[in-house]
């Protein structure tokens, strides 16, 4: 297991290199660059020379292989350089938002897990009863409803409800406070986007839990457990649930990685300054260095999540032995 983990960590490097090549060249396929955009963006006459100076300063007219080597060495030495758009250090810009995005992703994952596993389990046990139908409708609604729309509903709901019960409307805080500074303010701001995305994300996991559990409940060893006279509760908890959580863990893990960079619209609705927003801005600004760093960050999160899931697998299923 120990050896396997080391091997997996070493394997990260080729994967990351692949991601780096992809993002590097794909970005440069988009016509235009950050200098043209900035100067032409003002709508005034553009001095060709000024653009050239700008390109010179940012190093984007250097030969492509030089740029690539710069990028790679920078990445592996944790020296990400400055944003081409704002000129501020990338580590600083990402750092500002990383905490928030990570927290929302974790909270959404927890929300999804807390919803999905019990609901999926009940739905499987009560297969084809009205309880099952309600749970399935609830999760189909989660898939059908975009999270940003649910987000808007949540905000409106909060306003209306607080108005009704407390006399004056209450809105979640607009400005981000780190959790260790003021946990209450922090949670009361981030819980809503977490619920909005967590609900959607629970839908897939609920269905997965249900179908995986139904499959396990048909296994011979569950019949053995029944033949031993064990109570249904113990059969579900001990004999069935652990086996059926494997595919669910995969889904939840992959979603988590996605949430780290993918919450563009939800961040907008809740006015959060997260990585998703930064991502979109940096792509529209042709901010090569920033986009590259963000892609690499998401790639790292993805790989680490996968590794974590594999280790979890080995823990859930003793037949799996990595070597």
């Amino acid at each position: 297991m120990y050896k396997y983990t080391i091997k997996r960590i070493l394997l990260m490097f080729p994967t990351l290199l692949g991601a780096a090549v992809l993002v590097f060249f794909m970005l440069r396929l988009i016509p235009g660059d950050v200098c043209e955009l900035r100067m032409a963006g003002t709508g005034m006459y553009v001095d060709k020379e000024a653009i050239a100076t700008c390109q010179q300063n940012l190093g984007i007219n250097a030969p492509i292989y030089v740029q690539f080597i710069d990028f790679i060495t920078g990445f592996f030495t944790f020296d990400l350089g400055n944003s081409m758009w704002t000129g501020k250090p990338i580590l600083h810009e990402i750092g500002l938002r990383f905490e928030l995005s990570l927290q929302v992703a974790i909270m959404a994952t927890l929300t999804a897990t807390i919803i999905a596993i019990p609901l999926g389990t009940i739905s499987a046990i009560k297969q084809d009863t009205w309880i099952d139908y309600i749970v399935r409708s609830f999760s189909i609604a989660g898939i059908a409803m975009p999270s940003f729309w649910l987000g808007i509903l949540i905000i409106l709901g909060l306003l209306i409800m607080t108005q009704k019960f407390f006399g004056n409307p209450w809105m979640p805080p607009i400005h981000y406070t780190p959790i260790w500074e003021d946990p209450v303010a922090n949670i009361s701001q981030l819980i809503w986007p977490a619920v909005a995305t967590g609900y959607r994300y629970s839908a897939v996991a609920t269905r997965m839990t249900r179908s995986a559990l139904l499959e396990v409940l048909r296994e011979d060893y569950v019949r053995t457990a029944r033949a031993k006279g064990l109570l249904e509760k113990l059969i579900i908890n001990r004999h069935a649930l652990k086996n059926s959580l494997l595919p669910v863990a995969t889904i939840i893990g992959l979603e988590f990685a996605f949430l780290m960079g993918g919450l563009v619209v939800t961040e907008q609705v809740f006015n959060l300054n997260g990585l998703g927003k930064l991502f979109v801005e940096s792509v529209t600004n042709h901010d090569y260095t920033m986009t590259q760093s963000l892609v690499m960050l998401v790639a790292v999160v993805f790989i680490l999540t996968n590794l974590f899931i594999d280790i979890l697998y080995a823990w859930l299923d003793p037949r799996i032995r990595y070597s």
């Binding site: 048909r218 296994e219 011979d220 060893y221 019949r223 031993k228 064990l230 652990k242 003793p318 037949r319």
Partner: protein, 329 residues
């Protein structure tokens, strides 16, 4: 003296989209204390369904017991509620299944799977149950039982796993064990060992045994009495020796003439007799064995032969059973 288990006119049907499968269609038999009774028949004739019916383990839907009674120690099992039948399962009646590879939970240790039954039924604490479990593992011939307790099923061979299943079925000292083709999935050499072990342990502990098989060779060696099943019904019953020496049903005769032997390579399915068993969704009047029968007479088409006593403890459901005796004799 009343029997340990008395099954009367049991009917278990499956309500599927392609019709009602009459898997068990009115069977009656009994098992005395400490006795070994075999249920023999081709694949799909309803052996497993009849066994699962006893413990209320028929998957429902689509299955349902639609008639009959099952009395165990004079108590009607079909009248019990869910909790009561769970008290019988594993405690009074143990069960061993065909597939040792899939019948144990792959993610739980052998120890846990053994102790949980005793903890549940006998109210033992973990430490006592573990001590007992080690004893039982040793009893069924598993070496280094302490170490095995901490292992998972995939560490054990098929034969070893089936020994674990036997230990699991025995550990609450039940009155009856139902073994559903316990050796079909095993290597020939292991088959005999496992059967020997089951026979010895049940005899020693005074446990009655229902052994389900499609191998008449097994029957002759290990069973006291035999019930031969065909298309959801029992068509012949008798002492193992009688059935073996003097079968009084064309189907049993067919089975016997192609007995797979323990010393020969194993057979997955047994199809000793020309033709296919009937479709269990459309059983009509007349003898269900008719299309495959060499002895049939006109009566067989229109009238279903009842299971009737033809000798001391010997019953047959065939209009021509007497001629069969002479034909063979």
């Amino acid at each position: 003296m009343s029997a340990l288990l008395e099954i009367e006119d049991l009917r278990t049907h499956f309500f599927t989209s392609s019709g009602v499968v009459k898997a068990v269609n009115g069977i009656s038999y009994d098992v005395q204390e400490g006795e070994t009774v075999a249920i023999v028949g081709e694949s799909g004739c309803g052996k497993s369904v009849s066994a699962l019916s006893i413990l209320g383990l028929i998957p429902s839907p689509p299955g349902r017991i639609v008639g009959g009674s099952i009395r165990f120690q004079s108590e009607d099992l079909l009248g019990l509620d869910d909790l009561q039948i769970r008290d019988i399962r594993g405690r009074q009646i143990g069960m061993i299944f065909q597939e040792p590879m899939t019948s144990l939970n792959p993610v739980l240790t052998i120890g846990l799977q053994l102790t949980e039954t005793m903890e549940h039924h006998l109210g033992m604490d973990r430490a006592d149950a573990e001590k007992k479990a080690v004893e039982y593992l040793r009893l069924v011939g598993i070496s280094e039982p302490e170490r095995r307790m901490r292992q998972y099923p995939h560490h054990l061979s098929g034969g070893m796993r089936q020994r674990v299943m036997i230990a699991m079925a025995l550990c609450c000292e039940p009155k009856l064990i139902i073994a559903d083709e316990p050796t079909t999935a095993l290597d020939v050499t292991i088959q005999a060992q496992i059967l020997e072990l089951m026979k010895n342990l049940t005899k020693r502990m005074g446990v009655a045994l229902i052994i389900i098989t499609h191998n008449l060779g097994v029957v002759a060696r290990y069973a006291d009495r035999v019930n031969v099943m065909y298309a959801g019904k029992i068509i012949e019953r008798g002492l193992a020796a009688d059935i073996y020496r003097e079968p009084r049903h064309p189907y049993t005769l067919g089975l016997l003439s192609s007995v797979p032997r323990l010393d020969q390579p194993r057979q997955q399915r047994l199809d000793p007799i020309d033709g296919q068993p009937p479709d269990l969704t459309r059983l009509g009047e007349g003898c269900s064995f008719l299309p495959r029968c060499k002895f049939s007479v006109e009566k067989c088409v229109s009238e279903t032969p009842p299971l009737e006593t033809i000798g001391d403890g010997h019953l047959s459901a065939c209009w021509e059973q007497e001629n069969l005796a002479t034909a063979r004799g």
